[in-house]
């Protein structure tokens, strides 16, 4: 495949055909700030932060949506670009509260990063009597909190719901300054098509959407990401367990949309993302228990397994193979279920094997 020769900020760059200016710049290690863009989502061209100047083109172009063409001469940080970019971010900041101190997204907020990069402290357009948002905090469900006052209307949540979760539970509503992201007219999230998979929450570049259980569990810079596999079902989604280094406890669960190993390609369901609190539950069984004289005592795995094997063999001897039955789980993998039926048929000699999905 023939490469496409470009010049970005005076540097010769070779891009692949079909690439956007943003992709070509990233490949060459040149940073262009973005807000509405995410590699896992379709291009929107909405936030206007990635505007760049392309010579011989009278208009500034959004790097995220403009395909490269041979011989393009691109400036990503020219005075004209910087002025436009700054104006755009300051316009976004008119209505965005600057309470970063208490915001759950502090430290991972992309708006914060872009503003910092451009040297913006506050919006110069902000003034008393501005149309301020005063949306009530929405936290009726147990999974995530919506703070529409912080929403910058980048539409990432909408695109995540539409193209990743494929539920299209939310979309833009109203026009002009009243535009906002909502479930269908007159309904709340809890009575919409939302399945609370939480992909929108992870992809929100600001703090408009945040995980409820993660509140106060650790700042982004305190967390260590541990790659793991979801234990809820046999699909085996890859998850990143975010562990607080100070407390050693889980603070959040995220996914990696660029992971080369994850079969879920970043997707996951409500359980995998939000239902991790059992890990630290005091009621959780962490060691096998053996019942003796009406009460349980803790035991090791070797002892527990030998008790099970002994009792099963005894039943088989006394009453025959068909006195034993095996019941497996949909949460197990295919391989585990396969092994269980072999144990049942070949070791124990019974066809009494079934699966919870039959219930």
């Amino acid at each position: 495949m023939q490469g496409i020769d470009l010049t970005i900020n005076g540097k010769k760059v070779v891009a692949e055909p079909g690439m956007t200016i943003l992709q070509a710049a990233r490949k060459a290690g040149i940073h262009i700030p973005t807000l509405c863009e995410h590699p896992a989502l379709p291009v929107a061209g909405a936030c206007r932060v990635c505007l760049v100047e392309v010579e011989k083109n009278p208009k500034l172009l959004t790097a995220c949506s403009s395909p490269v063409a041979p011989g393009m001469v691109i400036h990503t940080h020219s005075p004209r670009v910087l002025e436009a970019r700054k104006a755009v971010v300051e316009l976004i900041l008119i209505r965005h509260p600057l309470d970063c101190f208490s915001c759950p997204s502090n430290g991972k907020c992309e708006l914060q990063e872009v503003a910092y990069e451009l040297g913006i402290r506050d919006s110069s357009f902000k003034e008393e009597g501005d149309t301020c948002n005063s949306y009530a905090l929405e936290d009726a469900n147990p999974f995530y909190v919506r703070d529409m006052n912080k929403c910058i209307l980048c539409g990432r949540c909408i695109r995540a719901c539409d193209s990743l979760a494929r539920y299209h539970a939310i979309d833009f509503q109203n026009r002009g300054i009243k535009a906002m992201v909502q479930p269908p007219v007159g309904r709340d999230l809890e009575h919409s098509d939302c399945t609370f998979c939480g992909q929108c929450v992870q992809l929100c570049p600001v703090g408009a959407l945040s995980e409820k259980a993660s509140a106060g569990q650790g700042r982004p810079w305190e967390l260590e990401s541990v790659k793991s596999t979801c234990s809820y079902c046999g699909v085996g989604c890859e998850l990143n367990i975010q562990v607080n280094r100070k407390t050693g406890r889980i603070a959040n669960v995220t996914t990696d949309y660029q992971s080369p190993t994850g079969i879920n390609e970043g997707r996951c369901c409500v359980k995998g993302r939000f239902a991790w609190q059992y890990v630290h539950s005091e009621d959780r069984l962490t060691r096998p228990l053996i019942k003796e004289n009406g009460s349980f005592r803790e035991a090791g795995w070797a002892e527990a397994l030998s008790v099970i094997a002994g009792r099963m063999n005894a039943i088989k001897e006394d009453f025959g193979s068909d006195a034993v039955g095996f019941f497996s789980s949909a949460r197990c993998t295919n391989e585990e279920n396969f092994l269980l039926q072999r144990l049942s048929r070949e070791v124990m000699g019974t066809n009494n094997v079934d699966h919870c999905a039959h219930l």
Binding site: A46, R48, S65, L91, I92, T131, G155, R175, I177, A179
Partner: protein
């Protein structure tokens, strides 16, 4: 069609219908039947005549007598005098403006004399619901010519030669646009007619759809043949029920006659046309938002490329043109590209329809060759400013356009000349303003419109226009600061530079042009807390002229806040601090002693 000695055309456009033309039509039919004249004289309901302010309009042919403001009560006299005895009813004919004498004949009226009707050629002349009348006016001749004598490339070349440019506002050369879509590879292609007319005061698309819908369909057929499209949509706002009804009828008739459907006129060319009713979002006039709306998505623009010619409706190559653009195509194919190109200026060919509204004597639709001056349109065709007031400005191009002043009156109108002075052709809205219009208030009006219609997708348009609107609101309330003008200028420039679609890129135009040409008015609001036109309520002052006041106390009695004091038979005084500027006192004063300043 039968043979009649006379045709009586009654305007059935939306304007005349709302001023009562249906009753006139019914009365005429009844009156003629009663007289036994219904076999000799045919009554026809036509599309818009353009001079809506004079409606209901009735034209009697073959004489071409033009009657205006006809009511059902006038009909018996009209039947008896004109249609039976052949005597023109003087009291109903058009009365000329100023030095112009009474003008009984259609073609002599200054409003029509200067016009050159190509797109509007059949509007007001034929019954739009009868395909035979369209055919009698050379309708579908261009289609037959194209599919039997011309290759698709010939059609595109003819449109290129004509110099026709997009009449929706962008002004992109139509033939070139068609060639992109024609070249684009695809098993399925679409053509779309953009009838999402939304500019305040613009109604040329509606009148065309209502007055000559077959011309739009024929134009689309020619485009479809040229580009290889097999399916088309007319995206028309649901607020145009008459246009939609007539379009449906048009599609039925054209299908029945074999102009639409499979194997048109016995050839391999097939074309199916659908109507999509839009919910009235202004931004759906932007082509990518329009296509999203047809697909069932929320109408929001997306960045281009990919351009519709490559990836349009449902990802297929698509060509979108405005109603007026399509309306010109059949005439161009019938008469040749050179015929059309003979009209207009060097780079802007042909004619353009303008919706003339505001403070002008004759509001309505006018079609003039490109290169006509604003002065000719406003003063010759439009009959000058209402009530003899002084001309101040025209807002040209709708909410995306700009305000031009007296110094621009003699500019020959073309895409280039208008953009040079900060306005745009737009869809052809032309709002005339007189000395009573405050330019700050006008700019605020248009910005209110664009802000309310912004789709909310990109921050410059969504947040920026709101910020500009807030500033304008302050200025008209007398709370502006000199720095506000710099902010407006900066914001306007940045919104134009950074917005995603045409709506945002042009939304600041009314503010930027009024800042450029009427800066003194902004400054008067800010520095002197005064509205020179006296239009801004919050800056208005009601003052009692002590010389005229007779001390009748009526003003003091009607004042809802007790701001007026004075004793009987003595001049009264208004307390400016208490006054809420409701104007009740001025209305109550029997001697007009109260002025608004």
């Amino acid at each position: 069609m039968g043979l009649y000695r006379s045709h009586v055309l009654v305007c059935g456009g939306t304007g005349c219908v709302s001023s009562g033309s249906q009753a006139v039509l019914d009365a005429l039919k009844k009156g003629l039947a009663d007289k036994g004249l219904d076999k000799e004289i045919l009554v026809v309901a036509t599309g818009c005549h353009g001079m809506c302010e004079m409606g209901p309009i009735v034209v009697v042919y073959p004489e071409g007598t033009f009657y205006c403001r006809v009511t059902a009560a006038d009909v018996p006299e009209l039947v008896e005098e004109h249609l039976f005895k052949g005597r023109i009813v003087d009291r109903l004919i058009y009365k000329g403006e100023g030095t112009v004498a009474d003008v009984p004949h259609y073609t002599d009226i200054p409003f029509y004399k200067k016009q050159h009707r190509i797109a509007l050629r059949n509007c007001g002349y034929i019954n739009p619901e009868n395909i035979d009348e369209y055919i009698a006016r050379d309708g579908y001749v261009a289609l037959v010519k194209a599919v039997t004598e011309m290759t698709p490339d010939d059609v595109i070349e003819t449109v290129k030669e004509s110099g026709l440019r997009g009449r929706g506002g962008g002004g992109f050369p139509t033939g070139l646009k068609w060639s992109f879509c024609a070249r684009s590879a695809g098993d399925k292609k679409y053509v779309i007619c953009n009838a999402d007319e939304g500019d305040p005061g613009a109604f040329m698309d509606r009148s065309l759809l209502e007055g000559d819908p077959h011309a739009i369909v024929e134009g689309m057929l020619l485009g479809a043949y040229a580009m290889g499209a097999s399916e088309g949509y007319v995206y028309c706002r649901a607020e145009y029920p008459l246009a939609i009804r007539r379009l449906k009828r048009t599609i039925e008739q054209a299908t029945e006659y074999g102009f639409l459907g499979d194997n048109i006129l016995g050839t391999d060319f097939s074309f199916h046309l659908h109507i999509k009713e839009g919910a009235g979002a202004f931004v759906c006039g932007e082509e990518t938002a329009l296509m999203a709306s047809i697909e069932g998505q929320r109408g929001m623009p997306r960045p281009r490329p990919p351009f519709p010619a490559n990836k349009g409706l449902w990802g297929k190559p698509t060509n979108i043109n405005n109603v007026e653009t399509w309306a010109n195509v059949a005439s161009i194919i019938r008469n040749g590209g050179a015929w059309y190109a003979a009209l207009g200026t060097e780079k802007s060919k042909g004619t353009k329809v303008f919706a003339l509204t505001g403070k002008v004597n004759h509001t309505g639709l006018v079609e003039v060759p490109m290169g006509t001056t604003i002065r000719e349109i406003v003063f010759e065709i439009g009959g000058g400013i209402l009530n003899g007031k002084k001309f101040k400005a025209v807002q040209i191009g709708g909410p995306s356009g700009g305000c031009l002043t007296e110094e621009h009156l003699d500019i020959p109108i073309s895409y280039e000349s208008l953009s040079q002075v900060g306005a745009i052709m737009g869809s052809g809205g032309l709002v005339v303003m007189d000395e009573d219009n405050c330019m700050v208030d006008v700019a605020k009006f248009f910005l209110e419109f664009t802000q309310a219609e912004s789709c909310g997708k990109c921050p410059p348009c969504r947040e920026g226009t709101k910020k500009m609107l807030d500033i304008l609101g302050r200025i008209v309330a007398g709370k502006g600061t000199p720095e506000d003008l710099d902010s407006l200028q900066y914001l306007g420039t940045m919104i134009k530079e950074t917005s995603l679609c045409g709506l945002g890129q042009t939304a600041p135009n009314p503010v930027l042009t009024t800042l450029r040409y009427f800066r003194d008015e902004y400054e008067a609001h800010i520095n002197e807390k005064r509205c020179p036109a006296g239009a801004c309520v919050e800056l208005a002052r009601y003052v009692i002229d002590a010389k005229k006041c007779i001390g009748c106390t009526k003003c003091a009695k009607v004042c809802p806040v007790g701001a007026i004091s004075g004793t009987v038979k003595q001049p009264h005084v208004i307390d400016q601090d208490k006054c809420i500027k409701c104007g009740a006192c001025a209305e109550a004063c029997p001697v007009k002693a109260i002025d608004r300043r």
